[in-house]
Amino acid sequence: MNNKILNIDLDSKKVSEKPIEEEIFTDFLGGRGLGIKLLTDYLPKSTDPLSKLNPLIFSVGPLTGTLTPTSGRFSLVTKSPLTNTIFHSNSGGFWGPYFKRCGYDCLFIKGTLSSDNKGYILIDGYDKIEIKDAESLWGLKTSETLKKIQEMEGKNCQVLSIGPAGENLVKFSAIMNQAHRAFGRGGVGAVMGSKNIKAIVVKNGTLKFPVKNKEYMKKLAIVARDKIKVVPITSQGMALFGTAALVKVINSFGMFPVNNYQFAYTEPEKIDLVSGERLRERFLEKSEGCYNCIIRCGRMTNTGEASGKGPEYESLWALGPLIGIFELKTITHANYLCNDYGLDTMSTGATIACAMELQQKELIKHDSLTFGNKDSLCELIEQISLRKGIGNELAEGSLRFSRKYNAQDYAMQVKGMEIPAYDPRGAFGHALNYAVSSRGACHLTGFLVALEVLGAPKKINRFSVRGKSDLLYLKQNQSAVEDSLVTCKFVGYALGFEFTARFLSTLLDRKISITDLITIGERIYTLERLFNIREGFSRKDDILPKRFLETPLQDGPSKGRVVPLDDLIDEYYKVRNWDENGIPTDSLLEKLSLKRLI
């Protein structure tokens, strides 16, 4: 690690460096953990996420850019304008390793540029940090922005940028990475937009990081790669079909949501129309991987009318079956458009789905908002991004939109963030994660679908209750560690956590056990909880929409199921050593060396 934070104060336009205390790395690793620690130390209670006080904290981890497979990822932490919770997101590609090689572990951006002074940040490894004028870039789509910046800064730069959605403070806008990867969910694009920053560019990173036992590290990497090549999910499923390989799989368990979660099972002939196989057959040009990744799940596609990246599983679902559309070309074009405008595809689709159900129930009147209406989808995406017409209302996300019409029950969200592509009625552990996740409905912070559906590493009963909390506790802590190192979650299908501990131990040249890592993960997760509690969140917010608690699925392999959430949450709080209101106990804080936040 470089042990250095790069601070950029947009108010004063001052750039400074600050060392990171060794203890912070020991307790929080880097990436998400580091960002969470810095944010909780810095941010006053009840700060408006779109005010200049709310920082954007980008961090790499100790494994970023190393020989460890899939170590191209890096993390972003801020307070979310969509949920008002603490928020973390991460992205792959090459920006993280480039940034680390410029000599930093963390980029801490605070303050804001004045509204008549749009800018982009350049981090040049040749000791040059600049805030450059971005007036000519403002209003451009992300692909246009990337092209312009590459003309100015050279082809070899890596670019994070927002699109018009971020500029217009859409609550679920994303920060795009090379115009096609996303720091998604939670509206981080709006936070960047509120600072009048269009892009963050890195180039000329040349530093190398010596590893004491390089030979062992190399051997470990070879063994890890061999394992990744053996496991069918990583070596074949993801590689051949991308994450869209999950479409038929999740549907086969009756968990693939359609029409705003009114259904969760589709007949085989129909689901084939939007499967990973169909995507590969019709549009795939080539697969693409992040830094040091052999899985290569990325899809570079071409429909004959347009080309771009994706769609990935969640995007394909949200811009397709969730809103009643089973036409792959429309979905693919909508996905390109979301990337270009800088929108989170999941929340975009889920918010439109919510509006469509309100139209179906005659709670609103808007003719374009009907399930299956593929003709208006691209126009709706544009309206949301530019906050025009009904798009201005939808740009607030499903919770705020539905509240306006007193129809909150039709917003499929938790803490304001829309639920991903796995109906919680089909996997109870996964349902619990949606309810308690610190950033709102999230599938990544404790992906129990891996065990409950994919049987990785071993199959467990997806409808059982006892013990699910313990597994979720473990998975959430592991996930916090992965996001802090920072590695890709997909590698977890092939490599056990013992590999993570060995890679880190070798890199740092000191013994770190799996148990040590789980404790660090618990510390990160608990600190996130403490932040949310300070912001007013409590047990009442660890809830799922009524539909999942009261309305059984009518069809498919999960037919008749509803989520027994209270039982799951009671057990979960006990496992976490939180009290019955979901507040971490004193003994837990003592164990983790944490203090309550004021």
């Binding site: 053996v230 069918p232 999910i233 499923g237 990973g276 994919l454 049987g455 392999p557």
Partner: protein, 203 residues
């Protein structure tokens, strides 16, 4: 969803393999051809306690997203189906077959049942015995001529017209391997070596 009668075969075969301790709690895989598809055990499921949703359907001819759920060795099964007359395939980690594969280049049967059924059981060696890629290439050519083959240090792949037929090959081969192993362990010469009379080496 698999029909009850077909599932019953999977359940019985899975149970027998586990009861015979040919596999660990979750290892081993079994499959059958079915109308242009392969029905195969789910990865991570327990072979001895199969449930209907543990049988995954995947395409016989091409890779599909069924691979997200199906056994790690799915592609070995697929290549066996595409290159041999197999209608069902079992992969198990028979202990005596594995032991003999560590010290011999083929397993010559000494017992009458083994002589009648197999004469000899070929042993093949691959660079990565735990991975399916090498096995997918090397196993099918052997199963063109033999009902069962041992991958050195790993386990057996057996074919059959049905799952029960393949099961008989797995259990029969293991019986012969066990008898041969114990005979070798005794250190005593054979009174009569039938393998030398029956042209086993040319089999």
């Amino acid at each position: 969803m698999i029909d009850p009668e077909t599932f019953k075969q999977f359940k019985i075969v899975g149970k027998v393999l586990t009861d015979h301790r040919y596999n660990t709690s979750h290892s081993g895989n079994i499959s059958m051809r079915a109308g242009g598809k392969i029905l195969i055990k789910r990865r991570g499921a327990m072979l001895g306690f199969l449930e209907p949703e543990d049988i995954i359907e995947t395409d016989l001819y091409t890779q599909d997203s069924g691979i997200m759920l199906s056994s790690t060795e799915t592609n070995v099964h697929r290549q066996i189906y595409l290159n041999t007359d197999a209608m069902a395939v079992i992969h198990a980690h028979n202990p005596f077959c594995v032991i003999l594969s560590l010290i011999e280049d083929e397993i010559t049967c000494l017992d009458a049942e083994g002589i009648y059924m197999y004469r000899k059981i070929p042993v093949i060696e691959v660079d990565n015995p735990a991975g399916p890629t090498d096995a997918a290439r090397e196993v099918p050519p052997m199963l063109k001529n033999y009902p069962i083959v041992v991958v050195r240090a790993h386990g057996v792949f057996a074919k059959g017209n049905t799952l029960y037929d393949a099961l008989q090959n797995v259990t029969g081969a293991e019986q012969s391997a066990m008898l041969r192993y114990y005979t070798m362990l005794s250190g005593k010469p054979l009174k009569r070596d039938y393998s030398k009379e029956k042209f086993f080496s040319e089999w």
